[in-house]
């Protein structure tokens, strides 16, 4: 299971890298969203969140229990990446409105010197 999820996280990072390196702004933002999901999966795998066990409450379950912390971390981090993606989408939309393009190579640089 761990190996499988690690490979999946790797595939997600690959996809995200491809998207982030593309020229279209909206693809870049989708790329960052996928990137954060890869990180969440990694936290899950690294933190032992994939083990099978009961809830970590005293007096319940039969000895083996899962660590609840990775899930709490992931939930927090999902909320944050939701907020960041939302801000980025609105920013991209405003940029498109203002400049009439979502191609990053046309948005390049301020003119100085």
């Amino acid at each position: 299971m761990e190996t499988l999820i690690t490979i999946l996280a790797g595939v997600l990072v690959t996809v995200a890298t491809y998207l982030i390196l593309s020229r279209s702004l909206i693809r870049v933002i989708l790329g960052t969203a996928i990137l954060s999901h890869a990180a969440h999966l990694l936290i899950m795998t690294m933190g032992g969140g994939l083990k099978i066990g009961s809830v970590p409450i005293l007096g319940e379950g039969n000895g083996t229990f899962v660590d609840a912390l990775p899930q709490a971390l992931i939930l927090t981090s999902i909320v944050i990446s939701f907020a960041v993606t939302a801000v980025a989408l609105v920013l991209a939309y405003r940029t498109y409105q203002e400049t009439g393009t979502d191609k990053l190579d046309e948005l390049r640089g301020m003119k100085h010197e």
């Binding site: 990180a39 936290i43 801000v87 990053l104 640089g109 301020m110």
Partner: protein, 493 residues
């Protein structure tokens, strides 16, 4: 009960939320935000004095004992930075009152400044690695909004880069946290420090520390500063001053904290690497500072030089050098804010951004010229201004450990700082005035008073070093002895 510990973060949050409801009352918004910063400064002074008598303070959220819950920890280092942040922000707000304009103020400007400060103070005070990530994100989200307020084309295209860079670096941060949690199974800083010490910092942990170094290098602008000059030169002057004074400093704070508390067992790898990066930053920043004629770019590259300089202190890592770093950190927060405000004011009064298009400003605006002169001396490290003590101590540390290359780079970069600012001074303030009496933009009190306050700050800090010396000494002492921090957090006295 140490509930007062969370105040520097929670008061700005509540104020920021309330200000959303008070949108039409801009005057009220201004003074509420100003008051929040003053109250924060007061709390910081109170905390600082309590720390001297009671030792490091901590607050367990929800009563969950460490290492299980998250917590805020206040030691001298973090509280000194909270204090400086509050004062600098209050003064930048004063400048913002008369400079940002109704249209931006109406778009929840003050709310987001409050959220930014909440994130910054939270990052300084937190005692949990994941919480540090969350506070970073609060700060960054607020900064994404602040950088775009105004919505000019250049702002939007620069902020796209700024957002993407920071999202990617936050991703690396998350990855580093995942690796560290997978390796040692905790995220509480004190507990982490203890477990890493037990394992003697295995090579695996050293590699993880390099991942952390990458993250904070991106945030602080240590060598990976390519995004910084563009992003810091587009927003409104008051916002740029806040960014220049605070944002990179949070990255520096995190780096100093991580590499003195957690990963201090293999200085030959980590601290050497920081030293190399700091040296390269100094070189790159110096070249940038003298290469451009756009005043905003010159100022932004001066931020980068300061980052390199402060981290030279960390790379050397002796008591004296860390003290120097802390002094220089405080000094730089004040002076960089001032420098950005001055540059913004010069641009407003002349309508030009290039220094070779400005001339003879000192005739029209003598006070502006003299304040710029003070900043220049202060940044170059000439006594009695505040840059002096930091530079002396870092230099002393470098000589003690024989790091002569870093010493040379640090002091040559000071010459470059002096030269780059002197170039602005000679080009823009001396010479024939180009502004005729009719076209002269009157200097507003709201512009010059904050500048005077900040330049007063650098003089007071320079002359009154004796007064803050015990606090800085305590801060450096805590950084040098991680056991103090661990004992205070994990309750083992």
């Amino acid at each position: 009960m140490n509930n007062v510990l969370v105040m520097p973060m929670i008061i700005p949050v509540i104020a920021g939320i309330l200000l959303i409801f008070l949108r039409p009352y801009i005057k009220l918004q201004r003074w509420v935000s100003f008051l929040v910063m003053i109250v924060n400064a007061g709390i910081a002074v109170y905390l600082l004095n309590r720390i001297q008598t009671e030792g490091i303070l901590r607050l367990d959220f929800g009563g969950w004992e460490p290492p299980y819950g998250i917590l805020f920890v206040a030691d001298s280092f973090s509280v000194i930075l909270v204090l400086t942040t509050s004062i600098v922000t209050a003064i930048c707000l004063l400048y913002a009152f008369s400079s940002v304009g109704k249209a931006i103020e109406n778009m929840y400007f003050y709310s987001f400044v409050n959220f930014l400060i909440a994130g910054v103070n939270g990052s300084f005070l937190t005692g949990d690695l994941f919480n540090l990530y969350v506070c970073f994100e609060i700060m960054l989200l607020a900064s994404y909004v602040l950088i775009t307020l105004g919505g000019r084309k250049a702002q939007l295209s620069e902020s796209v880069k700024y957002v993407v860079i920071n999202v990617v670096s936050s991703w690396v941060f998350l990855i580093a946290i995942a690796y560290l949690y997978g390796t040692v199974g905790t995220l509480n800083l004190a507990h982490l420090s203890e477990r890493i010490a037990e394992s003697g910092q295995t090579p695996l942990l050293t590699v993880i520390s390099i991942v952390f170094l990458t993250v904070f290098a991106l945030k602080a602008g240590l060598l990976l500063y390519f995004w910084l000059p563009g992003a810091y030169s587009v927003p409104a002057t008051a916002v740029a001053a806040l960014f220049g004074a605070l944002l990179t400093k949070v990255g520096i704070y995190a780096m100093i904290r991580i590499f003195t508390l957690l990963f201090y067992h293999e200085p030959s790898v980590t601290h050497t690497l920081i030293g190399i990066l700091a040296g390269l930053t100094l070189i790159g920043g110096s070249i940038g500072a003298i290469a451009y004629k756009d005043i905003r770019q010159i100022v932004a590259y001066n931020v980068i030089i300061a980052v390199g300089f402060i981290l030279v202190g960390l790379a050397i890592g002796t008591q004296a050098a860390l003290e120097g770093s802390i002094y220089y950190l405080i000094h730089d927060m004040i002076v960089k804010a001032l420098l950005f405000l001055l540059a913004g004011t010069m641009i407003v009064v002349t309508g030009e951004t290039r220094i070779d298009h400005m001339s003879g400003l000192i005739r029209n605006y003598p006070s502006l010229g003299w304040i710029f002169f003070i900043v220049m001396l202060s940044l170059a490290g000439i006594p009695p201004f505040s840059g002096f003590i930091g530079k002396v101590l870092i230099g002393q540390g470098a000589i003690e450990t024989g790091s002569y290359i870093l010493l040379a780079l640090a002091f040559i970069s000071s010459m470059f700082v002096l030269y780059s600012l002197l170039r602005i001074f000679l080009n823009s303030f001396w010479g024939e005035t180009i502004i005729s009496k009719e076209d002269k933009v009157p200097m507003k009190k709201g512009w010059i008073i904050p500048c005077m306050l900040l330049s007063g700050g650098t003089i007071v800090l320079g002359l009154g070093v004796e007064a803050i010396a015990p606090y800085v000494l305590d801060a450096a002492n805590t950084l040098m002895n991680p056991q103090l921090y661990i004992d205070a957090v994990l309750n083992r006295n």
